[in-house]
Amino acid sequence: MGENLLKTPLHALHLELGAKMVPFAGYEMPVQYKLGVMKEHLHTRQAAGLFDVSHMGQVLLEGDNPALDLERLVPQSICAIKPNRQRYAFFTNEDGGIEDDIMVTRRDGHLFVVINAACKAADIALMKAGLHSTDIVEITDRALLALQGPAAETALARLFPVERLAFMEGDMFPSDWGNVWISRSGYSGEDGFEISIEFDRAEDFARTLLAMEEVEAIGLGARDSLRLEAGLCLYGNDIDKTTDPVQANLTWAIQKARRAGGDREGGFPGDRNILPKLSQPAADEDRRRVGLKPEGRAPMRDGVQLFENDKSPDPIGVVTSGAFGPTVGHPIAMGYVPARLSEPGTRLWGELRGKRQPVQVTPLPFRPSNYKR
């Protein structure tokens, strides 16, 4: 494997567990372990899966009012996040496109922000340029693990009193592994936790969890199919610099306070493009992110072109993520189509190996999520 790839603190453990390692966002990461993607996916849905997501960036924003400052860069109401609560957010650009999607938590005296691995450098540069009175401190001595699945609470509660955490709530837990930050969140569509822990404690902590009957190590392969079944976006595939939040169907993540007539209306990059679109009916040809269910059994993966019918010459859309959904038992996909064709039930055609195959627009998620509300 490339010698310039970075390693997470769990690298040796991955190898010991027989992981297949692949380059991902500059890191050497486990794509699957001995169970294989399908069984790892199903295990996470049925019990608990442990994911190493230490490649993701962890950043502290410190200053007089980092929440208000961060609102210069995102269309979310960051000021309204209550202590120890977490919120999904995204950086926008002047055209209204999405630069990265992130998780923001208000902790004691600062904001804790988790950013995508591939966007780390760009996000930090963007914050350095765009924030006025906030120090941006990248955490470089903590691993990030995710424990996901219906048995995640049972497993983690043996080590920490995590039952008291609500969905999208976190807290710092002092322990034998040092101060461990745990939030009730994740990206699998399951109840679960994300755990930020010091580098040199991470492996022992991971081994303690993996020794539990409910817990298996899960690779990036299953992480991808789990998030796709849950209808969640992968940055770089389903959202990017060219997709605005309306096109990406992420308007639920823009709170009233930042919309037209709100207390802190606009004031983020691309607000002039995004705000009017929030209150106007969709233009027919403006694209929308939709769920897609191929009628056949062949998966339609990212890049598959979509057509309005089986003869029409020009594509009207494209698949941005596609896979077989192990829990639902059929192929699933997400992609972009014109708003006029975005109603669930609409039949479109995807071109696979030169042949047009029918595909239905479907509601997301493909499988109801099991969050602990």
């Binding site: 399908m38 069984k39 199919s225 192929p331």
Partner: protein, 120 residues
């Protein structure tokens, strides 16, 4: 007689019928198989024609016909349950059977010992 190709297919010759499948090593490399497209019965295939599509959880791959002939039978069971290939690649989860004209086309392929050396 069983022969193996460098593309990790196995061929089993019985009279003038060759049964074609993929090796256990191949299914392991592919990962969980979720979709298989087989040629239609009656299709005349030529060596190196792409006749099978396999999709695993990871990616799509093509399988080429290792030999000239007419497809006389396909394994419907693996179309319905592609995961069978992960369980029994070198047994019940064969792909298709070809009636061949020229058995000497098999000569170029490896025997089991040579194939095991290849994947070792």
């Amino acid at each position: 007689m069983i022969k193996f190709t460098e593309d990790h297919e196995w061929l089993s010759l019985d009279g003038d019928i060759v049964t074609v499948g993929i090796t256990d090593h191949a299914q392991e490399q592919l990962g969980d198989i979720v979709y298989i497209e087989l040629p239609e019965i009656g299709t005349q295939v030529s060596k190196d024609d792409e006749v099978v599509v396999i999709e695993s959880v990871k990616a799509a791959s093509d399988i080429a016909a290792p030999i000239d002939g007419e497809v006389v039978e396909i394994n419907e069971a693996i179309i319905d349950t592609p995961g069978k290939v992960n369980e029994d690649a070198e047994g019940g989860a064969w792909f298709f059977k070809v009636k061949i004209d020229d058995a000497s086309q098999l000569d170029e392929y490896m025997d089991e010992t040579a194939y095991k050396d290849l994947i070792a």
